[in-house]
């Protein structure tokens, strides 16, 4: 029997050699829609806009920078601030003075808990206004105890001081034995010879180990992009001090580096309406802080038993 004539069949089954028109179209439709879906699902990445510039990415470690490197970096920061805020700041790199060790003393008898220091600090140091970042927490505690468990920071009475309470502002204690410095995995925070523990905001990786290590709740993290109206910007800036920070870096009190390293008093001290805050060089026997440590009832270094040895002393008048 003769086989019937059949139309020519493809020599091999589809897929083994070449591709027919239909399966090509189908596959490409699938691939195209897959790519589109992938792109759409990665949409949240569009909000990641604050990448560092190449220049900042390749920047050297603070302690390894030559003066020429530093001049370039300061110029970059000035340019960035001008681009963002429309105002040209003056950014300095201030080095510690010889023979100076800063100490802060706070008179618990005098403090009335008005929080003026908190907001003067925010204004001086270009902290984010929304979300709020504040270096100073004023704790209200009942008379007769020094129990931090009983401390209240959100008090809001009509008038301060309130009867039966005293107030204890807490900020970075600038420890001689700082726990935060020990835990930093990238050496982005260190203690300077004048006693100020500083942070290089360009070197910080935002791991927040230091925040966990600090027993004083002194370190603040920029969870969100700091927002700061341009007319509130303080244009007198220092590299390790109050230059604007980015999202994802730590910051904290640095004893107003941009002021104190040129001989001025910190902002929180100048506005204190009752003169409860005192600051100076403890190596100078004539300074105010030396007088206080010598003659006053210096009651505590906060959490003295931890061995952090703060440079921030609380004292009483009588």
């Amino acid at each position: 029997m003769k086989a019937p004539a059949t139309p020519p069949q493809p020599a091999t089954p589809a897929g083994q050699e070449g591709m027919d028109r239909r399966s090509f179209l189908r596959t490409s439709a699938v691939v195209a829609s897959g790519m589109a879906a992938l792109a759409a699902s990665l949409a949240p990445l569009r909000h990641l806009t604050d990448f560092p510039s190449t220049e900042q990415f390749l920047q050297k470690y603070y302690k390894e920078m030559t003066p020429a490197d530093m001049a370039r970096v300061l110029k970059r920061i000035e340019d960035e601030v001008q681009k963002q805020y429309g105002l040209r700041p003056h950014v300095k790199d201030l080095k510690p003075m010889n023979g100076v060790e800063f100490v802060y003393a706070l008179n618990l008898t005098r403090c009335i808990g008005c929080r003026k220091c908190v907001h003067a600090c925010v204004a001086e140091n270009n902290q984010s206004r929304n979300p709020e970042i504040q270096y100073i927490r004023v704790l209200r505690m009942p008379h007769g105890s020094m129990d931090l468990e009983k401390a209240e920071q959100n008090y809001q009475p009509e008038s301060v001081p309130e009867k039966g309470f005293f107030y204890m502002p807490v900020q970075c204690q600038q420890c001689r034995n700082p726990a935060c410095v020990k835990v930093c995995p990238v050496h982005a925070t260190w203690q300077e010879p004048d006693g100020v523990t500083v942070i290089d905001y360009d070197w910080c990786i935002g791991c927040r180990y230091c925040e966990a290590a600090c027993p004083y709740w002194a370190r603040r993290f920029n969870f969100a992009k700091p927002s700061l109206p341009a007319d509130r910007l303080n244009l007198d800036m220092a590299y390790l001090g109050n230059r604007p920070r980015k999202r994802g870096v730590m910051e904290k009190c640095h004893f107003c580096l941009q002021r104190t390293r040129v001989g001025r008093y910190p902002a929180c001290l100048e506005v204190c309406p009752v003169g409860a805050r005192k600051f100076g060089n403890v190596l100078d026997p004539e300074s105010e802080v030396s007088y206080i440590l010598r003659t006053k009832r210096v009651f505590i270094q906060l959490k003295e038993e931890l061995g952090t040895s703060p440079r921030f002393f609380y004292y009483f008048d009588v």
Binding site: G15, V30, V31, S33, G34, A37, A40, S41, A43, P44, I112, G113, C114, R115, K116, V118, H119, A120, V122, A123, R129, N130, P131, E132, Q134, R137, Q153, N154, Y155, Q156, P157, E158, S159, V160, P161, S227, P229, R232, T260, V262, G263, R264, Y265, L269, E270, V271, C272, P273, V274, G275, K278, F279, G280, N281, S287, E288, Y291, I292, K296, D317
Partner: protein, 214 residues
Amino acid sequence: MSNAQKTALVLAGTIAGFLSLALAFSLHLWGETRLPAQIALVDPALLAPTTFRTSYVQMVSAKADLADFDCYGCHEKSKPPTLRFDTNMVIIVPKEHADVVMSHGRHNRNNNCYNCHDEQNLELFQTRDGHPVKFENSPALCGSCHGPTYRDWEAGVHGRTGGYWLASAGERHRQICVDCHNPHNPKIPGRHPFPPPHPLRPNQPTAEIAAHAP
């Protein structure tokens, strides 16, 4: 099931996964993007390092109107005004001096104008041991009673400071007693505190608290 079918299945599954992710993102199924909290800015004028009150010395340097300190515009020279006391021996402040609150010292101990003012010359003070003190030199008068505080003030430890801690860099601003203390009522008045830290995401009240809310 052939290889081609398996591939198609995996591809379809992946695409469905991506599509549902994209849909979820665009519909904000993972919580809404929060609107930023409204946080009021603090008026920078409130943060000025000015003192509670304006003293005679500040008024002189500001060239302000000193008519209130011209005692002999009203009083007669060489005729010390007599003080009047009520039945409890509390001084009666004349209505011309109604702004004076006699509240210096506890238990009404400082109940006499001439404890500080010089009755023979009203434009001077006098210490308790009879030394005359000029208006612009008032800390010497205050220090004649408040010795330890005066010593602290001289050392820069009592009272407000400003300017430069480093003498070679600039001047240290000091205040005198009456820049902050009202001599007739020296206790620092209470004031409204600045706002506390803003709770970005305030705790939701529990059902129990919400039920008792007004």
